[in-house]
């Protein structure tokens, strides 16, 4: 079967810039690996880092977040908040036992189809180098998260 060695990669993209950039890549027929599935968000500022954690713990091997370039946010400043939250979150990943390379955030504008192609290709390669995410049983994962969050 073709594509069997696909890994599970989930993308959270803001509607105004990066979703449009991914569309632009499509319109330009810029070939990309097929692993990624995109969830449309209004703004990168809508992304709760816990979504990323939940996604990784639920079976994804990688998560990609992309928003508007800094200063270019459709809602003025959503991506600044996103940057702060996601940067802190990325540093926290090792404590959750997750390789920080499984999560990246970046900025792609609606006109940057080629950039989107590069981002997807590079990130997919990166996840394939890391391989499938090691799985605990669901119970273990919960315990691990709770233990780390001190709860």
């Amino acid at each position: 079967m073709s594509g069997v060695n696909e890994l599970r990669i989930v993308g959270f993209l803001c509607n105004w810039c990066s979703y449009g950039g991914a569309d632009a890549a499509g319109v330009g027929r810029l070939a990309q690996p097929t692993d990624l599935r995109i969830i449309r968000m209004p703004c990168s500022g809508r992304i709760n880092p816990l979504f990323v954690a939940r996604t990784l713990l639920s079976g994804a091997d990688g998560v990609l977040v992309s928003g508007c370039h800094p200063r270019d946010c459709h809602y003025a400043e959503g991506n600044f908040y996103a940057r702060r939250r996601l940067e802190v979150f990325k540093r926290l990943l090792p404590t959750l036992g997750i390789d920080p390379g499984r999560f990246e955030y970046t900025w792609v504008s609606a006109s940057e189809g080629q950039r989107w192609q590069t981002v997807v290709t590079t990130f997919t390669e990166q996840i394939h180098r890391l391989g499938p995410m090691p799985r605990f049983s669901p119970g273990e994962a919960c315990v691990a998260v709770l233990a780390e969050s001190g709860g």
């Binding site: 079967m1 073709s2 594509g3 696909e6 599970r8 989930v10 509607n15 105004w16 810039c17 979703y19 449009g20 991914a22 569309d23 890549a25 499509g26 319109v27 027929r29 810029l30 070939a31 990309q32 690996p33 097929t34 599935r37 995109i38 969830i39 449309r40 968000m41 209004p42 703004c43 500022g45 809508r46 992304i47 709760n48 979504f51 939940r54 996604t55 639920s58 079976g59 994804a60 508007c68 200063r71 270019d72 946010c73 459709h74 809602y75 003025a76 400043e77 959503g78 908040y81 939250r85 504008s109 609606a110 006109s111 940057e112």
Partner: protein
């Protein structure tokens, strides 16, 4: 819940690499899916009818269409389900074209991916709620930024449509580049005869207010209710008193000031009215050259001004305007030709830009319309034109075509012959771009009737030899080297985004491309709209454009604004935040982060609670990601919906 799923072929666009029938069969297994089918063109009339019919036949209460990007047809399908009696938010879309069929050729992988994206949409739809728009007042004034021909056209059309217009122009006069042109292609009619009356119309129109010498400082609010802060630079002349008589210009002793209007060809006085037809026709002092402002000497203008308009202490002013829509028409600027060191541009006095040449050709220019070399005032007999200087050249990061240079060079060739009948013109070009009506005929006339020698090839270098300039290049058609001894060299400097365009875009919250040109909402179907409601584009701020195209866009943007203002109330997008007051602990974090000040604190039985102002909320969801209690949720993008999408992709 009963969900219907429609998998679009989009002709072969999707069906070519996705087994759409298979996806439909798979979809039937998803929870709550009562009906699933593939369809040839979901957006076509029969395609939409089939959706309406299925809703009725199967009693559906939600629909998923898997097809192209929702940025394109989400509104279309929302109307479709509404026609069948559903709430338009009981609809979801899966993007299986731009994000699937167009980016991969593996049918099996694509089919699986399309099915998963469809499942994701179904899971989201299962948690959708009907949403209803709220109405709000719209301020029916429009702000036009940039008073070039595009902005002028937009302003006049809006004003003629009965709306109040505020026109903000950075320079001391409107007119833009067109005001600097001598004649215009392809008719060779006089630029100021065409533009001048329009400028006068702007000045005299009771519904238009012009703020010249001004720029946008800040933009607050949203469609229907923008608050624009405007900064007006100091003119050092009280414009309420200045009559534009020009006496000050006659007497000003500081005559070596940079002549911006004439593109630096020649100099002008420190106090200046850029050209006789300027609108507004008011004097401005250039503080860099004024003897009073630099050395506290002179002050002649203040002494002779008949209306005592001179005010050396004038400060810049900051004020606000309330409008309901904005048209950006900030035009373009010229590529800095000095980046081509091999052409000696910026160093050799007789190597100039096309726009400088327009000023030399113009009867109102610094030479009174006599073509003279800047170096010695001699009439040139051999003029060489070089195309694509800062266009179509990756080495200077300008890979795009500036569009109008081929045409204006043909025009300048014709005018050169008219001015100097015994002159010869050479044009070094890459390709001739003349796609408009009568354009190709026009460039042919330049060659055939006016005997211009067109040489296909790039110029390698330009260097002085005696009082002439050697232009050395290749003739790629003949396969030979060419050297021409020129008296004057005119470089067709490419168009680039107007200075500060990126900053303005950030204030207006619109996107721009890597070169600084503003991004339209859709390149074909929404060419003058942006992704920010209430903000429109006109003219070459969106990409290089000639006058006919700029004017057409000015009118198009005005039509969009007039359509927006034809309603007395606008409807908000109901995908906004709502507070669950039982969960809200009144911490106020959402109030702090909201970029639109759309959340206020209210008192509920003695306790502070957050409340969303529904017509102000723009639906970004920043608050939802901030609230420590999960008490404020963005409708249509709730935590539950997003996690359901995640689960559909990861756990299924």
């Amino acid at each position: 819940m009963k969900i219907g799923v429609f998998i679009c072929h989009c002709g072969s666009n999707i069906a070519g690499t996705v087994d759409t029938a298979q996806v439909a069969r798979t979809a039937l297994e998803f929870p709550d899916v009562a009906f699933a089918t593939d369809t040839m063109y979901a957006c076509s009339e029969p395609g939409q009818e089939a959706i309406v019919q299925a809703i009725k036949d199967h009693g559906l209460d939600g629909v998923v269409v898997s097809s192209c990007t929702p940025l394109m047809h989400e509104p279309t399908f929302r109307r479709t389900v509404e026609r069948a009696g559903l709430n338009r938010f009981m609809f979801e879309m899966a993007n299986i074209r731009e994000h699937v069929s167009w980016i991969g050729k593996d049918t099996e992988a694509n089919t699986r991916k399309a099915a998963e994206l469809t499942r994701m949409a179904v899971e989201k739809l299962r948690r959708n709620m009907p949403l209803f728009a709220k109405q709000f007042e719209v301020n029916k004034r429009v702000l036009v930024v940039g008073g070039g021909v595009a902005g002028i056209q937009a302003a006049l059309d809006c004003a003629d449509g009965g709306r109040e217009v505020v026109l903000v122009e950075r320079e001391s006069t409107i007119g833009g580049k067109m005001a600097k042109l001598d004649k215009t292609f392809p008719t060779v009619d006089c630029s100021s005869c065409v533009l001048g009356p329009k400028m006068v119309d702007v000045a005299q129109h009771p519904k238009i207010t012009v703020h010249a010498l001004s720029e946008i400082e800040d933009v607050k609010g949203f469609v229907g209710n923008f608050e624009i802060a405007i900064r007006r630079k100091a003119a050092y002349v009280d414009w309420a008193k200045c009559t534009g008589c020009g006496l000050c210009m006659e007497k000003c002793p500081s005559r070596k000031s940079l002549d911006r209007f004439n593109e630096g060809v020649g100099t002008t006085t420190a106090i200046n009215i850029p050209f006789p037809q300027a609108i507004p026709k008011k004097a401005v002092i250039d503080p860099a050259f004024c003897l009073k402002l630099t050395k506290d000497k002179c002050g002649v203008c203040a002494k002779i001004c008949p209306t005592q308009a001179i005010d050396f202490k004038q400060q810049e002013a900051l004020f606000t305007e309330q409008v309901g829509a904005v048209i950006a028409a900030t035009g373009y600027d010229l590529f800095d030709i000095s980046k081509y060191g091999e052409y000696g541009a910026g160093k050799l006095p007789d190597v100039i830009t096309g726009l400088q040449y327009e000023r030399l050709l113009s009867a109102s220019g610094p030479t009174g319309g006599h073509v003279q070399r800047p170096s010695d005032g001699r009439e040139p007999k051999t003029v060489v034109f070089v195309q694509c200087v800062g266009s179509r050249d990756k080495s200077v990061d300008r890979p795009y075509c500036s569009g109008f240079c081929c045409m204006y060079t043909a025009k300048q060739v014709i005018l050169t012959r008219d001015h100097i009948p015994d002159s010869t013109s050479y044009v070094f070009y890459m390709d001739i771009r003349a796609p408009g009506k009568m354009y190709d005929e026009f460039t042919r006339r330049a060659m055939e009737e006016y005997g211009a020698r067109y040489v296909r090839g790039r110029v390698a270098m330009i260097y002085p030899k005696g009082d002439k300039y050697v232009v050395r290049g290749a003739d790629t058609l003949m396969g030979t080297q060419v050297e021409v001894e020129a008296d004057l060299v005119v470089l067709a400097a490419g168009a680039e985004a107007s200075q500060g365009a990126g900053k303005l875009a950030e204030k207006l919250r619109i996107s721009y491309d890597k070169y600084g040109f503003f991004l339209e909402s859709h390149p074909k179907l929404r060419p003058v709209e942006t992704n920010t409601a209430g903000v429109y584009l006109a003219g070459s701020c969106q990409g290089p454009k000639d006058i006919p195209a700029s004017v057409a866009q000015g009118s198009a943007a005005a039509a969009k604004v007039l359509a927006l203002f034809s309603k007395d109330k606008l409807e908000n997008d109901p995908m906004i935040a709502a507070v669950d007051i039982r969960r809200c602990v009144g911490c106020g974090k959402c109030i702090q982060v909201c970029p639109f000040k759309a959340i206020k604190e209210v008192d509920f039985r003695g306790e502070p609670k957050a409340e969303v102002i529904e017509t102000v909320c723009q639906g970004c969801g920043l608050c939802t990601a901030t609230c420590p209690q999960g008490a404020i949720q963005l409708a249509h993008f709730t935590d539950n919906q997003i996690l359901a999408e995640v689960n559909a992709l990861c756990l299924a």
